[in-house]
């Protein structure tokens, strides 16, 4: 009997020792470990980093300026395809993925399109998260009439089908001064952010409502912490997990929305300035490619695969983040 007791004691002692010896880890570093153990998420992160590098060094990778028109080179096939008896349509390594209707290099356009997709994914995400977090914090923290009003409004906005809203905004405002500003980037960012905030706001509000009742907030109030400190030092950091996860899913949504809208001819305007930072988008390329599915399929295949892989990568990252930040949800 006595030996058993000592045994149990020594086991719990060694467990305690093990805990004591382990370097202290924050919740965030635990989450990072879990994320880095997820192979799909790590591969996706590497791929996105690769795309970011491509976007930055696009001028080095592109063989031509994406807006340069090469006469007598329209719809040239990809480099490895030879069209019998038609040298002017056969592939050439001067244009690895061929050319489009007016003789612009598809490879160079694809490389520059990376920039557009990344910007279109990230910028609305930042706005959406900011808007949604502020509204959700205010709504959840102050409650009462403010909360009721904001949530009713959110519910109406939420019921407006996002895809239809984008179409309405873009068709209506495309030819107005605000629609032309920065080749339509401003209006696109605006439309994407105006729709997305609702989901984030509801999420943050829910977090705040449940956190508000927790003991550590009560303790903070008891020792006289000011309201804005409770809001920004306690409630906000503890709601960050779900905010980050939803951010990871907003990015691919925005990229897809831009591609679909550009495919419908109501997305970004084609740039005319040779030095434009964002001269072309993958959605625009797909629209161009639709006219030549048989004559030059790579004009469409290349941007289609690029869009597919970037959205897939962001979904893997989102899934990985969710499993890492919210272990209860992980299976």
């Amino acid at each position: 009997m006595a030996t058993t007791l000592t045994n149990t004691n020594s086991v719990s002692d060694s467990v305690e020792q093990a805990f004591a010896q382990r370097a202290p880890r924050s919740l965030w570093s635990d989450a990072r470990r879990r994320l880095l153990r997820n192979k799909a998420a790590v591969a996706a992160l590497l791929y996105i980093s690769f795309l970011i590098v491509v976007a930055i060094i696009a001028p080095l990778l592109a063989l031509h300026n994406p807006l340069d028109i090469f006469q007598n080179n329209s719809y040239r096939q990809a480099a490895w395809i030879t069209v019998p008896n038609r040298p002017e349509a056969s592939g050439s390594w001067a244009f690895p993925l061929g050319t489009d209707a007016i003789g612009r290099d598809v490879w160079s356009r694809l490389v520059y399109g990376t920039r557009t997709s990344l910007v279109v994914g990230f910028v609305p995400m930042v706005f959406t998260l900011f808007l949604g977090t502020v509204i959700g914090l205010v709504s959840g923290f102050f409650g009462g009439a403010v909360d009721a009003f904001l949530m009713r409004f959110a519910e109406i906005v939420y019921s407006f089908p996002a895809f239809l809203f984008f179409i309405i905004v873009m068709t209506a405002l495309k030819d107005t001064p605000i629609g032309k500003f920065w080749n339509g980037f401003v209006i696109l960012f605006g439309a994407l952010s105006l729709v997305g905030w609702v989901g984030v706001a509801r999420l943050v509000r829910g977090q705040v409502l449940s956190l508000k009742e927790k003991e550590f907030i009560e303790a903070a109030r008891a020792i006289g912490v000011r309201q804005h400190n409770i809001l920004f030092k306690h409630l906000l950091p503890n709601s960050l997990g779900p905010i980050i996860i939803s951010g990871a899913f907003i990015v691919p949504g925005a990229i897809i929305a831009e591609a679909v809208l550009s495919y419908l001819g109501i997305g970004l305007r084609p740039a005319t300035d040779r030095n434009a930072l964002f001269p072309v988008s993958w959605g625009n390329m797909i629209l161009d490619g639709k006219a030549a599915i048989t004559a030059q399929p790579w004009l469409m295949i290349a941007p289609a695969i690029s869009i597919a892989s970037i959205t897939l990568a962001f979904t893997f990252i989102g899934d990985g983040l969710r499993d890492a930040l919210d272990p209860r949800e992980a299976n």
């Binding site: 519910e155 089908p161 895809f163 209506a172 691919p252 495919y263 419908l264 597919a308 899934d319 299976n331």
Partner: protein, 337 residues
């Protein structure tokens, strides 16, 4: 429950009003009027334009008409209903009142046709596509999710999860275009042009493409709910009392796991409705979606607004169905109202 249904239905009114208001407001920010946009055709002269504007009520104020109301008041009219109607005798409210009667006005580009005529004529094609896609999504998505969850971490699980992730993340129009390039123009397995859309065969490829994202969505949801149910105590109890494995799966796991799955069929339906727009346009199916996309390209504002309202109504109804199914399946929600 009845109260719950009525509340949800009533809530649709402000939502649809908001949709109509926002689309109307935005559409009127577009430069130019309906009769002066077509630069290829003969321009109308001032007198014709004025009579056209009068005929379509475009000479009235945009949102409210206080002038008409005060004129009536001055002429001795005191009936609040008549006065109110005069006050709302504006382009926007006339559009709303007409829309409620099912009149969405004339198309700006297809001369002599009303928006609702175009939409209802093309509706059957969209319905066929949508139904086929939904059937495909449900009969493949649920079994895939169940099998993946029952054999968690097996190769079957990984493969179906991988494809489900591709399905939810890669946009429908990208998959549709790739299918057309590979199976249409390269392999020539499916025909792209000259399809007879009154037969079922040409719907096969587009409904698979359209249903893919919904199927993946259902697979993912089914998998995660089955995984959760699998660990519950009552499943262990069922096994402990000696039920056969099949009985445990069919009676206990599936039945309980289906509740969340049924409730996500609503958002999936919404996904199908809007996804159909692009799919129809890619595969040239003469449904409402294709006409909607054509209207976008031609800036046919009345057609865009009418289709938006119809699609929004569908989406709102689908959402109400979801809420009702929640209420039916989960008594806790019903009691909250």
């Amino acid at each position: 429950m009845l109260q719950f249904i009525i509340r949800r239905l009533l809530w649709a009114i402000p939502v649809l009003f908001f949709v109509a208001l926002v689309s109307f407001f935005l559409m009127h920010q577009a430069p130019g009027g309906p009769f002066d946009k077509d630069n290829n055709k003969k321009q109308v002269d001032g007198a014709t334009l004025a009579s056209l504007n009068r005929r379509f009520g475009l000479d009235k104020p945009q949102y409210i008409n206080p002038a008409a109301a005060s004129r009536l008041w001055a002429s001795g009219e005191r009936n609040p209903l008549t006065l109110g109607r005069a006050y709302l005798d504006s382009q926007f409210f006339n559009y709303v009142f007409n829309a409620m009667r099912g009149d969405l006005g004339p198309s700006y580009r297809q001369r002599g046709k009303n928006v609702q005529d175009i939409i209802f004529k093309q509706w059957p094609y969209s319905m066929r596509l949508g139904l086929l896609a939904m059937i495909f999504a449900v009969i493949t998505g649920i079994p895939l999710g169940v099998i993946a969850a029952l054999r968690q971490n097996s190769i079957v699980d990984y493969i179906s999860l991988f494809f489900a992730t591709i399905g939810v993340s890669v946009p429908t129009f990208v998959i549709g275009l790739l299918v057309i390039i590979f199976f249409g123009t390269t392999l020539k397995w499916i025909s792209i042009t000259n399809n007879d859309w009154n037969t079922w065969r040409p719907y096969l490829a587009p409904s698979l493409v359209l249903g893919l994202s919904t199927m993946s969505f259902i697979t993912r949801i089914t998998r995660s709910t089955v995984l959760e149910v699998k660990r519950q105590d009552y499943i262990r109890t069922a096994r402990a009392k000696g039920l056969s494995e099949r009985m445990v799966i069919v009676r206990h796991i599936l039945r309980n796991a289906m509740i969340p799955v049924v409730t996500v069929l609503g958002p999936a339906l919404v996904d199908l409705i809007t996804g159909a727009v692009i799919t129809e346009s890619i595969f040239s199916i003469p449904g409402v979606g294709k006409f909607f996309v054509d209207a976008i390209f031609q800036r046919d504002y009345s057609m865009i607004m009418g289709s938006t309202l119809i699609y929004a109504t569908l989406v709102v109804m689908a959402n109400i169905l979801v809420d009702l199914s929640y209420g039916l399946l989960d008594p806790r929600i019903r009691s909250q109202g």
